[in-house]
Amino acid sequence: MIDDWVGHHHSRPHSPLSHVPAALKLGVAIAIIVITVLVPGTRVSWFVGASIFLALVVLISRLPLLFLLKRLALLSPFVLGVALLNALQPVAGASWWNVAVRSAICLLTVILVSNTTPFSSILRVLKFAHVPSLLVTTLALMHRYLFVLTDEAERMRRARASRTFTRQHGARWRTLATVVSQLFIRGSERAERIYDAMCARGWK
């Protein structure tokens, strides 16, 4: 699943949307999401209008349709769950398809923004919006080392697999726990080296 998510970030298609300022994209996206969540279910016109707008944006964005559908499909367990629970016990006001439409519009909006806007621009918007600097720094570092650590986890997984010859549940849990703990230890050691590197360039 991570490959589905991360993979596309390496080959983001260039589109006219990449040049729209990040703040504008985020603003519009949040407006769409807020209205979609708040608008009463009977206002069909808004849902239709938003869907048409998003469809146009999809066309401009040049994102592969299959990727978008796959990503939207990940929502289905939630929608099915709600549908199932509501079948057992109907609630007035919110029917499952209503929830499905709302959440699909919101999700598509976020996917479109996140795939046409580099995360660093989002960070710049957050900084500009006076989000506490400690949080922005932590976000920046997490994003920077996300891929370094996931790669490390993947390498450890492969190295482990190449020397795993039996399938014992208990033993596997232990080795997996060792892998995760190694990940944490390496991460914290790297954090110390990063601190050194920051200090070396005059960080206070």
Binding site: Y145, A197, A200
Partner: protein, 254 residues
């Protein structure tokens, strides 16, 4: 002799008890390029970290480090860090900002320079390492060689007088290595390079220092040391290939 950096009887013990340095002494003249050689665990990286005052001042530390006459103490640390640029072994540790531009700007921003000045420095540093068009690229999408050069740009943007490099050519492919060597040759700063890449030392440095078990075991002109087969073998090093085709007395302008 006018000295850029001077280390006197430096001792250091890590918190786990390992004695990394057991009394290291040497000095480097301004503009000199010195290779720091020695097997793994001989204390090369520890020496470099001391140049920048990065190892905590505590009971395990003894001796002095002076940069242009000023000794490295907690009080002088800020000035020292402006003067000494340190290139770390793992470029991923050093490139901690989301984009190349931001990372190169990090140092100058910490110096409290104006935005316009920071921008010129960033542009100049990126051009110097041949990454002029890479400013907006995400740091984690760079190739290994590009990461290395971006790190160097980040250090150069601080305009250091002394450049300390830790294994600058490890993990580089031959072309990356060649390009990086050419790049280093063009930089005027005093350079001290800790490395296993003896060819790099033979080509760039005029002088080499061999460390082993936390002590300086040899200090002298590069070619003399590298051609001393016995010295090299005694400290788990070997004569670089390129020297085998030369004779020490022939013209070695490399």
């Amino acid at each position: 002799m006018n000295t850029a950096l001077e280390i006197t009887n430096l001792r250091y013990r890590y918190h786990d008890g390992t004695e990394a340095l057991r009394g290291v002494t040497f000095r480097v003249a301004p503009g000199e390029c010195v290779g720091l050689l020695g097997p793994n665990g001989s204390g090369k990286s520890t020496v470099l970290l001391h140049l920048n005052g990065l190892l905590p001042d505590k009971p395990g530390l003894d001796g002095t480090v002076r940069i242009f006459g000023q000794s490295v103490t907690p009080e002088s640390i800020e000035t020292i860090r402006h003067q000494v640029g340190l290139l770390f072994q793992d470029p991923d540790d050093q490139l901690f900002c989301p984009t190349v531009e931001e990372d190169v700007a990090f140092g100058p921003q910490q110096l409290g320079l104006e935005d316009a000045v920071v921008e010129t420095r960033v542009r100049r540093a990126l051009a110097q390492v041949g990454l002029a068009d890479y400013g907006s690229r995400a740091t984690h999408h760079l190739s290994h060689g590009e990461k290395r050069r971006a790190c160097l740009a980040g250090v150069l943007a601080c305009e250091p007088l002394v450049l300390a490099l830790d294994e600058p050519t490890s993990d580089l492919d031959p072309r990356g290595r060649r390009e990086f060597k050419a790049l280093l040759r063009r930089i005027d700063a005093t350079k001290i390079i800790a490395t296993h890449d003896l060819e790099l030392v033979a080509e760039l440095c005029s002088r080499a220092i061999v460390l082993d078990h936390g002590l300086v075991v040899a200090d002298g002109p590069v070619l003399t040391l590298l051609n001393d087969e016995q010295l090299m073998l005694a400290h788990d090093l070997e004569r670089p290939h390129i020297l085998r085709h030369h004779h020490p007395h022939s013209d070695d302008s490399a």
